[in-house]
Symmetry: C2
Subunit: 338 residues, 2 copies
């Protein structure tokens, strides 16, 4: 910056004012400064900026979801968030450390590196929130906690998604349906979306008079396959599956197949919150009820940035409805059990 100032024949402070428009600068001086900046390929140093108390333009995305393997739908959030952050001139730090290590989170925010934080994989009672609040760092969430707190968040409308999915199955004549959730250890951590979806499923099923069992399942195709075999042994009348488990879903289909059951002739499968890309990887393609993950990630960043830039107003909370995509895994319930 000193070089630029020298070259333009002004002081460093003038360059700074020209850069930020903090004080008026004559057009002629400004032109000289800009020319000098271009010639020297000058870029302001972020560290010095932030050291002086300004924004670092760095946001951390907390994505601890490694226990579950990789969800393609999570990737949708990540890329949506990343794209929007970039277009708003923010940097996105991808932080994949496990949610449990609060000490390292405290270190991260204590470093003063970040302007704000976007949380993913929110738990019903998420201790990270305490850490962030104590540190006084702004944050927003993709997902919500159990108690409604005054924070910006976006979340999938599980009540609506589950309702639409079950209604689709009910309309097709299915009466015995199972809800295949995430793995048991995951549920024990009270991962918000899994708990929420399960509650929604039970409520909706009761209202519709469906016979709905709920069951946990590891996030692998193998687990899905053995699970569906066990379930069909238990309840031969089972004709419908509702699942929140992106990775077990193909296994469920494969498991039915090995039993001689065809999808969707004998067994219908509907996935909620499964990304389109994952849905199209199976044959037949999966019927889903899913929100737009990219858009959710985008809005999460937008809400956070609004907060960072001091836009006034109350905290924003938005539920995203899912749209029913009828693909190849759902069909009329068989009239006779084969």
């Amino acid at each position: 910056m000193a070089d630029v100032a020298r070259r333009a024949g002004v002081s460093v402070s003038t360059v700074s004012y020209a850069l930020n428009g903090t004080r008026p600068i004559s057009a002629e001086t400004r032109a000289r400064i800009e020319a000098a900046m271009a010639e020297l390929r000058y870029t302001p140093n972020i560290h010095a900026r932030r050291l002086r108390g300004l924004q670092s333009k760095i946001i951390a995305l907390l994505y601890p979801g490694r226990g579950r393997g990789i969800d393609i739908s999570s990737l949708g959030y990540i890329l949506g968030a990343s794209d929007h952050a970039q277009s708003m001139d923010y940097h996105l730090l991808l932080w994949t450390t496990e949610a449990g290590s609060l000490a390292s989170l405290r270190t991260l925010v204590g470093q003063g590196l970040l302007d704000g934080v976007l949380l993913m994989e929110v738990k019903m009672d998420d201790p990270r929130i305490t850490v962030l609040t104590e540190a006084g760092i702004p944050f927003a969430m993709i997902g919500q906690t159990g108690r409604t707190i005054d924070v910006d968040w976006v979340d999938t409308d599980f009540d609506q998604c589950v309702h639409v999915a079950l209604e689709h199955l009910a309309t097709l004549g299915h009466r015995h349906v199972v809800f295949v959730n995430q793995a048991a250890p995951i549920l024990e951590t009270r991962l918000s979306f899994a708990i929420r979806a399960q509650q929604a499923a039970q409520t909706a099923a009761a209202r519709m008079g469906l016979d709905l069992a709920t069951v946990a399942c590891d996030s692998t195709a193998a687990a899905g396959s053995s699970l569906i075999n066990r379930l069909l042994d238990q309840d031969p009348q089972l004709t419908g599956v509702l699942t929140l488990n992106e990775q077990a879903a193909p296994g469920i289909m494969a498991g039915a197949l090995t039993r001689g059951l065809r999808v969707p002739d004998h067994l219908s499968i509907v996935a909620i919150a499964m990304s389109e890309q994952a849905a199209l990887m199976s044959a037949p393609a999966m019927t889903t009820v899913s929100p737009d993950e990219r858009e959710m990630g985008r809005l999460g960043i937008e809400l956070l940035i609004n907060r960072l830039e001091g836009k006034p107003g109350a905290h924003t909370q938005k539920l995203f409805e899912g749209t029913l995509q009828i693909r190849g895994t759902s069909g009329p319930a068989p009239t006779q059990i084969s």
Copy 2:
């Protein structure tokens, strides 16, 4: 830091020395300082550190591969890189801006924010390398350029992968095989791995005396489906598919199915560099020849960090071999065309 010093009854410099071990500190003083740091929950400020000329411990991961949609195998690199960076106490910045915008890359590295850069989606002649070299910032690559340059990189051994895959098909009796590559616009950008794999396929096929056509395909299931129909119209003797296109692969399978062809009875499909997770999403699961993406990402970061921390020695280059996973999409070539 001043607070810590005051509380421990020493000067700030002494705290700094204790923190970095730059100069000897008496055990007793050190204990007092550490106690004070713990009580005050002190974390050093990264910006001030870097401003003084030290490392910021921030690495950018350049992942511009958005044109192709999302590859699950790319996600493997990203998570492998992220995990290792975190375990080495580095921050990972996810940079998804398109590869073409060199100006914004120049700005990124000019900000002085980064210690180093890890490149993904390397092109045969990648202009980003010039930018990074000019900026004098250390970098490593996942993938290699056309000309061998003196840089740290990790890459898939496409010669080996393609060889193993084609040999598998040849052993099963397939003679007419098609290589389904990435989309044409992608090939035009001379994306390194696509070019490299195609060359490898042609060489290996010639050596084995296989009839191998090569064809580009958009990264969607629909494109894969219509493509395989067209190909089978053209060459009814076609019985084997080798593909580098993770997203088109399920479409190829579905397309064959709609023609009344069963996989693998009538048509065999082998995917290279497809992630295990993607392979398990289709039914039957996909036969693949793939390297360990997580490990590649991990090593990419390791090489970069070695460079950053001034470990001497020549640049390291490592090719990762793929292992053949025979799953459900490859089988003996039909003796009679049905």
